[in-house]
Amino acid sequence: MYYVAKVNADMCAEYKCNTCTLYCPEANTLMFDKVGNTSWVDEDRCKGCALCVYVCTDMLSRNCITMEMVHGKE
């Protein structure tokens, strides 16, 4: 029952932008894939702060990142 950032790769790839990766407080967590031209999240390390959502949505109005609840056995 916790949130992690999820990047919509298709949407993200349109922008050729890696701005969100520059503002994550965790190192080696929100990464940029130069080949696919998209950001991606190492879910093991994401602490769910949603700072990247602020960057992508509020600052850039691109809405490529959402916070999603990870469900377990429920």
């Binding site: 029952m1 602490k47 056995k73 429920e74």
Partner: protein, 235 residues
């Protein structure tokens, strides 16, 4: 295992399983029952998957001793990874276990290896393995009640207190204001509360879990000669 005047309990689990919360509720439960308990605070920031330990002493007599429980007579393992992945700083998990003691493990299958089994047999220990997470999900609808299932099993097996004592302690924990929780625990609480809409419902679900484990504990016979008692979820 025979009833004892005093239980020194070590709880090992992973960050997020409510290990420290259990210790607090266990303490107030003993207090409500007119008995005695002492808790050892666990320092150090934790994060998910990080090993967590808590220590409780429970007794019908006053307790003087302080410090971590190095030589426990009850060990509770909240996650099988504590054993299978060595996710504990106390390695091996039975370090310091006294003879004729009890281990409760949250698992749906046996997680003990041959070497461990031999050591525990020599110590004449009893190991109760049951799927507390599954029980929590089925009865309370959330795995966050795993700690309640574990605590219920412990109290059911040791018969230290009644369910009324526990209810009062759980109430205090979730409804009262006396408990000072850390920032993280507070966030967890509010998440649980949100999930249940009403605090009363939350309380009831937790108590359902505890009652169920008491029932299960009643059916457990620890007088047998076998080391491991594997409980199937009786639902």
């Amino acid at each position: 295992m025979e009833a004892r005047k005093r239980y020194n309990i070590r709880i090992s689990g992973l960050g997020g399983q409510g290990v420290v919360t259990t210790a607090h509720i266990l303490g107030s439960t003993m207090d409500n029952a007119g008995k005695y308990a002492s808790l050892v605070p666990f320092f150090g920031s934790e994060k998910r998957m990080a090993p967590v330990e808590a220590y409780v002493r429970a007794s019908s007599e006053p307790i003087y001793e302080v410090g971590e429980v190095v030589y426990p007579d009850i060990i509770m393992i909240y996650h099988s990874q504590v054993i299978t992945h060595g996710k504990s700083y106390t390695m091996p998990f039975y370090t310091g276990l006294k003879p004729d003691s009890l281990i409760i493990i949250n698992t749906d299958r046996n997680v003990l290896e041959e070497d461990d089994i031999q050591v525990l047999k020599d110590l004449n220990a009893k190991v109760v393995q049951f799927d507390a997470t599954d029980l929590a999900v089925k009865v309370a609808g959330t795995e966050l009640a795993t700690n309640m299932a574990m605590m219920g099993m412990l109290l059911g097996l040791t018969e230290l207190v009644t369910t009324e004592n526990i209810e009062k302690a759980v109430k205090e924990r979730f409804l009262g204001t006396s408990f000072i929780s850390s920032g993280g625990t507070a966030a967890l609480d509010s998440a649980i509360e949100k999930k249940f809409k009403k605090k009363e419902e939350l309380l009831q679900k937790n108590m359902d879990v505890i009652n169920k484990t008491f029932e299960m504990a009643n059916s457990v016979d620890l007088s047998g000669s076998e080391l491991i008692v594997q409980l199937a979820p009786n639902l």
